[in-house]
Every structure is written in C-alpha cells, then in structure tokens.
Amino acid sequence: MSLALIAALPFLGALLPGLMIRAGRNACAAATGAVTLLALILLALQAPAVLRGEIVQTRIEWLPALGLNANFFLDGLGLMFAGLILGIGLLIILYARFYLAKSDPMGQFFTYLLLFQGAMVGIVLSDNILLLLVFWELTSLSSFLLIGYWKHLPEGRQGARMALAVTGGGGLAMIAGMLILGNIAGSYDLTVILQNKEAIQASPHYLPALILILLGAFTKSAQFPFHFWLPHAMAAPTPVSAYLHSATMVKAGIFLMARMWPVLSGTFEWFVIVASAGLITMVMAAKIALFKDDLKALLAFSTVSHLGLITMLLGFGTPEAATVAIFHILNHAAFKAALFMTAGIVDHEAHTRDLKRLGGLRRLMPVTFAIAAIASLSMAGIPPLNGFLSKEMMLEEAAHVAWPNAWLVGVLATIGALFSVAYSFRFLAHGFLGPVRDDYPHKPHDPGFGLWAAPALLAVLVVLVGLMPNTMIGWLLNPAASATTGRGIFTNIYHWHGLQAAALWMSVAAIGGGLVLLGAYPRLRSLWDATPRPEAKRIFDGLIEPLADAARQVTDSLHNGRFSRSMVVAVVGIGVLATLAFLTATPHAPGTRPILPVDPLVLCLWLVLVVAAFAVPFLHRNRLVALLLTGVVGLLIAPMFAMFSAPDLALTQLSVEVVTLLLMLLALNFLPKETPVESRLPRRLRDAAVAGMAGLGIGGLAYAMMTRQPAFDRISAFHWAQSKPGAGGTNAVNTIIVDFRGYDTYGEIIVLGIAALVIYALSEALLRNPAVTARLASLPKEREAGDRHPMMLVVATRLLLPMAMMVGVYIYLRGHNMPGGGFVSGLVFAIAYLMQYMASGYDWSHARQRYDHHALIGWGVLVASLSGVGAWAFGLPFLTSGFEYVHLWPLEEFELATAAIFDLGVFLCVLGAILLALASLSRLALRTGEGPNTTAHDLEETR
C-alpha cells in the first residue's frame, strides 16, 4: 500500500497549491514541500529493507482483464531514482519559491510540478509496464504544462509542443514495444518480465520490441537523433529546467534502459543501437554546447551529452559499464541541478543568461560563483569532484570496447570528454571570470539564502561524493547497480587507477585538449558561426507545419461542404460494396415464382409514369414544371398501388402527395423559380452515369427479389389469420398499423409531430432575424392577380369543407375493416382545412378556429400514449388493445376497440402536424408585405 501511496501523494497533493495560494506564496510552497517531504519520508521508511536486498511490493488490481494493474515494487534502482526525484524535488521547490516572480501564478506552477513529480515517481516504482506507460505519458503531459508555463513566451509554447510531440510520440512507440514485450513474457508485470530474458531474446519479436522501447527511451532522454527538443524546452522557468532536464524527466529514458537492461541488453542489436546512439549523442551535443551563449542552452546540450554518455555505458552491455552508468546518473544529477540553479540565479539577478553579456560575476556574486565553480569543475571531470570519478570510469570502459575496432570508441569518448571540459570551463570563464562589466541589464549581486541554499547543498554533495565516494554513495549505488545488472557486485570506487590505466591518459588528454580548445575559442567560434547547421526548430517546424498543412488540405478538400461530391462518393461507395457483395456470393438463383401477366391498365400507368419521370432530369430547371411532373408521378403511384391490391396505400399516397405538393408550392414562393445551369456537361454525364448505374442496380434487385419465391413462411400469415379474431378488424393492413405493429405507428406519428415542431421552431427563429424579415419584404414579385380570395372558391369551399370532413370521418370509422384509418382521415381533414385556408386566407380562417395546432399534436401523442399505457392497468404490455362488440340502441352493433382510440391519437397528431407546418409557413408569408386578411372573400367588403 505504502508504495502506491508514495506514487499517489504528489497527485493528491497537486490539489493543495491551488488552495494554499490563497494563504500566500510561502504557504503554497510549504504545502508543496510538505507533500514531497512526506513522500520522501515514506520512501525512507522502505529504504532499509531495500538496502538489505529485499524487494518491496504493492499490488492493486486495476484492470486485471488486460493485465494493467497498479503494481509497484521498490528495489535498489527504484530507490535511488525515487530518492533523486523527491530529494531534488524538495530543493527545487525551495528554489522556485524564491525564483518565481510575484506576477507568476505560483499555485499553477506547483500543481504542475507535483503532477510531474508524481508521474516520475510512478515510473520508477512501477512493477507493471502498462502502468509504467501511464506514468511515462503523464510525464510528457505534465512537462508540456511546465515548459509552457510562461504562456506569454512564444518559445515556451514552441518548446512545449516540440517536447510533447517528441516524447509523447516516443511514448506511443513504446506502448507498442511494451505490449509486444508483455505478450512474449506472458505478463505485463516487470518482476515477471525480468525473469524471462531467454524467452524474450529468443523471440522473433525481440528486435521490434527493442526498437520501439528504445524509441521511447531515446526520445525521452534526448538521444540522437531526437536530441533537438531539449534545448528548446529551456524556455521553461529555470526551476523546471533544473528539475526536468537534469535529474528527472530526461533520466526517465535512462531509467527505463537501466530497468530493462537485464532482459534487453547483452545482444548485438542492443549494443549497436544503444552504444552508438549514446556515443554520437555524447560527442555531438558536447560540441554544440561549447558554442552556446545562453547559459541554459549550454547546460541543456551538456545534459544531452551526459545522457549520451550514460546511454553509451548502458549500451556496452557489461555489468561494470552499467554500474558506472548508474554512478554517473547520481553525479550528473547533483552537479547539473546545481548548475541550472546557478544559471537561474544569474538570470534572476543580471536579467540575462547570455554569456556574451556576462563575465566578472565572480566579484559581484561570490557565493554563486563558488557553487558554479564546484559544479562546473565536476562537470568537466576535474578531480577530486564526483564528476571526475564517473568520467574516469566511463573512459576506462570505453577504452575496452573493441567494436568496430580497438580504438574508435575510446577516441570518440575522449573527444566527448574534451568538449565537456571546454564548455565547462567556458561556462565558468565567460560567465564569472574576467573583469566586472558596467553594462549588465541589471546590476547583479548574490541573492538571498533561499535562492542559493539548494544549489549550495548540491555543491557540497558534489564535493563530498568526490572525496568519499564509497561512504557517501556506495550504500545506494551498490543496491541500485545490482538491481540493474541483476548481480550482487559491489564496486569500490577509486580515485587512482594507476598509471597504466587507459582512462588516466584519456582524461589528461581531455583536460588538456579542452583547455587548448577554450584558448582557441574566438577562432573556433567564428568558424562555427560560419558553418551552416541544421536548426532543430526550423527542421521541426519544417516537418510539423507542412504536415499540418497537408492534413488541412486533405481534410478540407475532402470535407469542403460540397454536398454533391460527397453524395457521389457515398452512392458509388454503396454501389460498389453492394455489387461486390452480390458477385462474391453463391450465385443468385433465378426466381421460380410465376410471373404475373401484364395487365393493360398497369401498362398504361407504367407508360405515363416512366415518361413523366424520365422527363424530370431534362426539365427540372423550371421548378414549377419539375413540381408538376413530380406531382404527376406521385399521383400515378397511387393507382399503381391500388392495382397491386393495396388500397390503403393508394389512399395514403394520394393524400400525402397532395399535401406535399401544397407544401412545396408554399415553399417555392420563397425560393427562386428557376434553377440555373451550374454544372458542365461532363459533370452532368457523370452524375447521370452514377444515377443510372444505381437505378439499374436497384431495379435489378427489385426484380430478383420479386421473382423469387420466399424461402420461409412469412410472419404476415399470422397477421392475416389473426386480423379478425385477434385484432377485431378485417383490414389486415390497418390491424397491423394500429395493433400488431402499433408501436411503429406510435413512432411514426411522433416523427410527424416533431417535424411540425421543428418547422415551427425554425420559422420562429427566422422571424426573429431582421435580415430575414427584410429579405422577405423584398422578395421579387411578379404581376399578381387583383383578387386574393375569389368568391366562387369561397362558396365552393363552404360546401366542400363539411363534405370533405364527412369523408374524413367515414374513412376514420371504416379503417379498421376497410381501407382507411386515422392517418388518411387526418390527411383528409388537413386537406379540407387547406382548402379553407386557400379560399379565405390563413388569418381569417385561423381566427375562427377554436383550438391550437400545438395542442392537437400534444393531444395526439398523449392520446396514443395513454391508449398504450392503459393496458398496464390490466397487467398487459404497452399498446395491448382490446375490442368489444357493443349493441347500443338505436345504433347498430358496433365495435369498440381501444385501437380506435390509438387511431384517434394518430388522427390528431397528423392533423395538428400539418396545420402547424402550414401555420408556420403562413406566418413567414405574412412578412412578404401583405397585410392580414380580414374578410372571407374579396367581395364582402365592396358590397
């Protein structure tokens, strides 16, 4: 439990800074520090056991199905790293408290910092590689926030994004690698994986897993060729740099290589990839560091170089080299954190980090100088400081590598060390030595204790470890190294290896060469400045921006709002897939069903229908003609239905068609009456080809289906058989609609109701838009007839309206047994009302109407719902209907069916929906400049 708590504490504590900042900056920092300290104490409590060689474990099930569990373990390596992260974290918090300006939001800073700390601790304590991945990506995210902390700096944003892109991307590769690894080992638990070296290295998936995992590690640790992000991350506030880029985040990759060392190292692939990447990084970054003027940039490249060094050591694959690597991790963390903090102090005091504008600080800031001197000498590998010890051991290891030949690695390592000496001295010489200047942006002096306390403590450690390595650090180094190498070897660290040690001469060469290099610095510098170099930011931008542009082009050209093109793609896509499905099947068996002889009536209808439909594409530009032709087609489909034994369909099609036509005519009043020619002939031909193919396919399918005898009994046999006895009606179509499948109808009338609500809502929105009302008032008008409501129509309607309603009632009542029903009845009523509206105008007619359209819809849905819910009272399901034959004098025997109530709901909903839609359109029409109508017909007023 306690290990999980150590990892969780920073996350839980991340809530504190935001709350405590209200109590002041000290409280905020103190709370943050307390959280870290508590975690450190908890860690320390575990330390004795670990140092005894035990492994502390905590296992919490999270996602057992996948093998992702919150399993933690603590061994020497983990202890060392966790201690480093929390210990240096504590110092950084102290430092940041004094470093951050009053205007900087400190709460946010410490929140991010604790998130980051938690993620780092999580990485080093994870006993589950999937869990490790979670923390791994969390470090990417939280460092993104930290690097971009100063939002106003464009470099900060850039650097943060670059860091996230590189480390996050590497993390994604690592996900794949880890999954492969877990699959080979049969578990995602590290403790299990670490037992499976042979199986893993023998697996054919070893190399891909290795490469993918190393991608994650290299990107995180800024190894060549992924080193470019680190310097740009220096835009972060210095405490961030000091923390992330010396002790923690960049070490995460190193940690991972060390952690995986027992199972992944020792192969030729490992050696070649890891050692070469490390070596190249070490030399190249050290060279660049020499020419950086920004203190932090110099330190950043130096960090890259040192990480390369460590990587190289791990890559050698020998336990000895790995031990040296672990040792150097500790050393580097100490001196580099101190150096970053001094750089921060300089920046804080002198308001610049530019070496060209500095110099002479030795006198102005003696304390800072002392710290800087110790740390940078250690970085240069000057005895007896701790950096010397590990560098000496590194050179020794390098000297013994015999691939690709006996000396190349050694020489290169020496050159790296040489550059290291040079830039370390340059840091010191150009920053602190020399005469005091009078043109600092700000007159510097030593800061308060709070700011230098942390680096000073680190400097002391640098010295002490350098002097008494075994006492100071051996207790930690040995368990850590043996955890890495998997053997209990205990190294004794010596300052002196004897004259015959290759490292001695390499070291001497490095220091000497480094000093020579520094002496020749001005000349080298002009040479460097003259050499064109690839600039990381530009390359990164050159990759990302075109990528984003390309992405934008791809997506925008695909999703450019062109409806017809997306439609063509969709139709062709559907057609191709359907055709493929058809062609790849067992061949379709031609139909066996007897073909119906051609009925001359149908032939007649068919001829008219086909000609009218075929003409539409040619004549559609005149919209009224197109509408006429559509009307012809739609109206002819009705008798077609009738002739194929579907009278209900004929009635419905007919009445729907008329209402549709009226709606379209109403709409056409607001739209242009002509469609301009906008697509060229080839496009039209293409469209015609697409449409023709689709039509051919659909027609073919219809034919294939119609001519085939159904393979099984159809469920409609039940409907037919039960229509009268079960549902109490002789019209099987109607009993299906109101009873067997009444639930479909329930949904269908709600669709209609919603349609009307939508129409109403949109017309409301339109009417509230002044631009729309202005446009309505200025719609182009053709010459209009002088009479709006011709008397003859009004008089005819006075008769036709009641008659139509009579027909409607009739159709409603007979529906259950004969063609008809609530839906058609509603439509007939609607048509009757439409006639009335056409005759006397909407206003006049509506003013005499006693109910509201919304209410009709509401009642319709309610009545239909209630008729369904009523069945619950009898313990029966929704929409269960009952019917009873009632004899009530003087009425003849009639049937009382609850389905009729449902049908009434249908009727109301349909009527209400159509009327509401009409009302909405009429309200729009009112704004076209015509006043409301106050008389039944035109003559009423004149006579």
Binding site: E784, G786, M792
Partner: protein, 124 residues
C-alpha cells in the same frame, strides 16, 4: 336476372363505356388540337368530366347488376360537378393574368375592372 336482361344490361353498359371512352379521349385530344389557350380550356372541363361520368355510371350499374348497391359513384360525380367550374375559373384567371388569353377582353360594364386585372386591394 334473365339472360335477356343480362344481355341488354351488358349491351347498355358497353355502349356507355364506349361513349365515355371517346369523350375522355376527345378531352385530351382537344388540348392538342385547339389553337388558342382559352379554347383549350373548354375541352377537358367538359369532355373529360363526361368520360369519368360514364365510367362511374357503369361502375354503379355493374355493381348493381351483381347485387351490390353502390352510391359512392354519385358522390364522386357531385364532387366533380362542384369542383370542375372552380378549377376552370382559376385556370382562366391564370391565362388572363399572364396575358395568355385572347386579348380582346371586353369591359365589365360595371365601372370596375375584372377582378384578376384589378389593381391590388390592400387590407389595412
């Protein structure tokens, strides 16, 4: 029914149908043959109505012959008689307004113009 009566009915119905068919055709033929738009309006309003009427009559009588009384035919006829003049009026008005009718429209003699061509009335 006796065979003779049956035969007579058959003959009678057939002749009505033949007549009706001819009228239906004449209505549509008139649309093509008559040269001026107003003239063309006469054909469908009358001839076609008679054609439908014949079919309706036969339908009613035929069902009657089978022993079913069917009155809906009468209803359809009433509907057609009620509506055809209004349709025709509106078609004529459309022709007049759009200048497609014969241009020599006489004065109304009442001092007011024909309604279609009257200046628009504006309600308050």
């Amino acid at each position: 029914m006796t065979p003779a009566l049956d035969m007579a009915l058959d003959l009678f119905l057939s002749s009505i149908l033949v007549g009706g068919g001819i009228f239906a055709l004449v209505g549509s033929y008139g649309l093509l043959r008559l040269p001026r738009p107003m003239q063309r309006l006469h054909a469908p309003t009358k001839a076609t109505t008679i054609g439908v009427g014949a079919a309706l009559l036969v339908s009613a009588l035929d069902l009657l012959g089978q022993g079913q009384v069917s009155w809906q035919e009468l209803l359809i006829t009433v509907f057609l008689l009620l509506t055809a003049p209004v349709s025709a009026l509106f078609l004529a008005k459309t022709l007049i307004l759009r200048g497609e009718a014969d241009p020599d429209i006489p004065d109304s003699g009442t001092g007011k113009p024909w309604a279609t061509l009257a200046p628009e009335r504006h309600d308050s």
